[in-house]
Amino acid sequence: MTRLITLLGYVMLAASAVGLEIAARRRGSGSFSDAVTIVMGRSPARLILLATWLWLGWHLFARVDWR
């Protein structure tokens, strides 16, 4: 049951993201792409986001035993 609740939480968050994106595109601004552009326009946030992205790749592709 707890697994189901956890998964439902992720699904709701994903659905919210899709809803936000659709609403933003209808408005013509405020899309995910706009949000990323704003974050990447500020140096400290840019560095943090890029470092986080590299960490994510390292975590997924170098720190998981697939076999």
Binding site: L13, T37, L54, W66
Partner: protein
Amino acid sequence: MEDLGPGRHRSVVKQAAEADGSERDTGCRMPSRPQHIGTGHEIGQARQAVDRLSQPAVMEGLAVGAAEGKHSYQDGTEMDDDRADLRARILRTAIVVLVVAYAWWAVARPAFSSSATLAVLTAGAAAVALGALDRRGPGRPVQATKVARWALLAGALGAWQLVAYLQQPRDDHPTLSSLTNALLDSHAARAVAFVLWLAAARELARR
């Protein structure tokens, strides 16, 4: 057209063949080959060729081709453009093949090994560097308040992930990482994910 004599038939067929040749030069749509329609087929073929050439789409294509001068290679300009296009296409294909081959190799490195770390971080850093070298110019201005909802959503996702991470067992409280592990179970899926991760890193760095 009903009263065409044998000489006139040959003339019409010849004209149709010449028209085909000009279309080839202009890059326009070629009419399909006339079909064999039995006895007296020469008349039928000639009529089919003329009918097809007179179709509006074919005539429009001929006009557009002539207007753009695609049939003229005398100055050599179009030839150069074609060669440059071909070269760019070959280069792009070669880069894609190399990246996919590298991804295939990189995700096969033993887990937790320094070779895996090196393979992943080197490629990631290269993708970021390439993106940074090719940064986009300033786009249209966006108000920060309009994207505040994304910050809220990111915060909610982080909180939900943390709650799951702090609880055990993992099967009952899956994190995004543990869910991803299940999705990326095959070598091919991991290689595809690696390529997407690299592409996203480059795209991020371009902004």
